[in-house]
């Protein structure tokens, strides 16, 4: 146990350092929060219009969709839309080689850094978004548009666990983007691809239950569902009991698989990485 703690120390320090560093960027957090509010209101209004214009049975209630939307805005920066900008920068400047000079497993070195980057950015943004959507809106008399409490104690507990998994899963996906960035020596292609996949398949654009029925099985099983759809549906009480556990299990399975695949790919990519210069 002591040996394991010692071997984790470098990664923990890397995490702590980047976390503290990222927390300093207050202006970026406020700007990001403003944009996320704006988009949040637009999405809520679009869904309200949709629910007014339809009489058919919908998979989620309007209140659930509104809560789902605000959660999405609060945790937006946990989504792996882009590779780690630090990795892109290292690829541009050739500093990747310095990271190979550290007596660390380069995959986990970058994995912990990516995790710190995401968590540090999400903390202030989520705090502001919860304050606005769950506290200020009701006070302002806009209670029907508010972010509601979790559906039950069980939902709250499972959601908390799911959010820890979201961070781990998202970092694993982000690492795959990083690896693509290193392999192609440019972040453009990898980022464009990731943004499309993540936006649509996570449920960030439209909650996945609103997609056609024949797609539902696939949508529930693919790795991006764990980033948004599964945890938020647990929160609003749409996924409960055995199905909620199935959702959490698929997140764990994907996380482990993607870490494994990423670790293997990284070894291959780095071994043929050629550092330019005489």
């Amino acid at each position: 146990m002591a040996a394991m703690a010692a071997s984790l120390r470098p990664y923990r320090s890397v995490f702590a350092m980047r976390f503290m560093l990222m927390l300093q960027y207050r202006a970026a957090a406020v700007a990001g929060f403003a944009t996320q509010c704006w988009w949040g209101f637009i999405k809520v209004m679009v869904f309200a219009a949709f629910f007014r214009s339809t009489t058919g049975h919908q998979p989620l209630t309007l209140a659930q969709v509104i809560t789902y939307t605000w959660l999405g805005q609060a945790f937006l920066v946990l989504l792996p839309w882009w590779g780690d900008p630090e990795v892109a920068e290292m690829v541009r400047t050739g500093n990747v080689s310095y990271d190979r000079l550290r007596p660390l497993d380069t995959y986990f070195f970058w994995y912990w850094r990516a995790m710190a980057w995401m968590v540090a950015r999400v903390v202030p943004r989520a705090a502001m978004m919860f304050t606005l959507a769950a506290v200020i809106l009701p006070i302002a008399g806009l209670g029907q548009w508010r972010l509601r409490m979790p559906a039950s104690i069980e939902a709250a507990t499972l959601f908390t666990g799911a959010m820890v998994l979201v961070v781990l899963l998202s970092s694993a996906i982000l690492m795959l983007i990083n690896i693509l960035v290193v392999a192609t020596m440019s972040e453009r292609g990898a980022n464009a691809l990731a943004t499309q996949l993540v936006t649509i398949l996570s449920g960030s654009l439209v909650p996945l239950p609103f997609f056609p029925d024949w797609m539902q099985r696939f949508l529930f099983l693919q790795p991006f569902a764990g980033l948004v759809d599964i945890p938020y549906r647990i929160y609003v009480g749409n996924l409960t009991g055995a199905i909620a556990f199935a959702g959490l299990s698929q997140m764990i399975a994907w996380m482990v698989t993607l870490v494994f695949v990423g670790h293997w790919l990284m070894g291959r990519v780095l071994s043929r990485l050629q550092v330019q210069g005489g």
Partner: protein
């Protein structure tokens, strides 16, 4: 047994090429053409513990490639390389824990962090025990005079200050070998002197083995007893710097001032390069006419005011050497 053994080491890169223009770009999408660049073509040398080796050569000669292979970043295409009994690219994790590396053109310290925080992070990354870390850090801070820099973010440091911090950072885990790739590039004169003093102290007093690449021949003159000259991927010379100098350029210069106008001199073995007013500049070969002979010739026939003799400038020696071997980059 030598600490570093390099045997017949080769490295080839495959560089993708594309023809200029839009049509070339389009063709490149379907059939990519590759050019093979031979960065190293079978180099061999060995280094004993505590040696200080200077690696010089024109741009593109293979210096950095050699450093990158020795530090475990690059895999050699063929040949053998062993450092302290380990094969760098195979045993990367164990190997890199024992070496220190500084690339003059790159930074290893975290740009936004104060220097001291960067040092602490390196302590954790290398797993250095707290007491050892404190001792080494204080020693390095003293040697490099970094006290005032520790609480400044790296991005606010001048290049000279940063390079001093970089070298100190590379020593925090007490490596027995230090690789320095162009550590004085772009530095002003006092910073260069400071870096040289520091490297010298590490090598002479602490017995750290140092491999240094540079384009600044004064680095070599000040530091390295042994020099490897590399050009187009092969070793052109591996010998003490002084013997390199005497082999390549025997010519010396003599500058003399006379009481009256400088005379028109005809001395065998010496040629007048420049004559103006009271001064004259001669080039001579000490093998044909020795310094005492030349001076006595001058002083017996003319009234001298001042006289001094110069060795050829070190840059000229090296440029001449590269020319002789056709080593300069095409």
């Amino acid at each position: 047994m030598p600490q570093i053994i390099v045997e017949n080491l080769s490295k080839t890169y495959r560089v993708s090429e594309r023809q200029p223009g839009a049509w070339g770009a389009l063709k490149g999408l379907f059939a990519r053409r590759y050019r093979v660049v031979e960065a190293l073509r079978g180099i061999s040398f060995s280094l004993e513990r505590g040696e200080l080796l200077g690696f010089i050569g024109p741009n593109g000669a293979g210096k950095s490639t050699t450093i990158k292979i020795l530090s475990g970043i690059l895999e050699p295409s063929s040949g053998r390389c062993e450092v302290d009994g380990l094969e760098p690219s195979r045993d990367r994790m164990r190997h890199v824990a024992r070496i220190g590396v500084v690339f003059g053109q790159r930074t290893q310290l975290w740009w936004d962090l104060p220097v001291a925080d960067g040092f602490n992070l390196l302590r954790d990354i290398y797993g250095v025990a707290e007491a050892d870390y404190r001792r080494t850090r204080d020693e390095m801070v003293g040697l490099m005079r970094l006290e005032r820099l520790l609480d400044q973010p790296v991005r606010q440091l001048s290049l000279g200050q940063r390079m001093r911090c970089e070298i100190a950072a590379a020593m925090l885990h007490r490596p027995s070998i230090l690789f320095l790739d162009e550590p004085t590039i772009g530095l002003d004169a006092p910073s260069k002197l400071a870096v040289r003093e520091f490297v010298k102290a590490l090598n002479r007093e602490q017995g750290v083995t140092v491999i240094l690449t540079t384009h600044d021949m004064h680095d070599i003159e000040a530091l390295a007893e042994r020099v490897i000259v590399i050009g187009r991927g092969v070793i052109l010379a591996d010998k003490p710097f002084e013997s390199l100098r005497t082999e390549v350029l025997t010519e010396r210069r003599l500058f003399a001032d006379f009481v009256g106008a400088a005379p028109d001199l005809i001395i065998p073995g010496a040629t007048v390069l420049h004559r103006e007013g009271n001064s004259i500049e001669l080039s001579f070969d000490p093998a044909v006419i020795s310094v005492p002979q030349l001076i006595s010739r001058l002083s017996s026939d003319h009234d001298l005011v001042d006289i001094h003799i110069e060795q050829p400038r070190i840059e000229e020696v090296i440029a001449r050497f590269y020319d002789l071997h056709g080593a300069t980059e095409a």
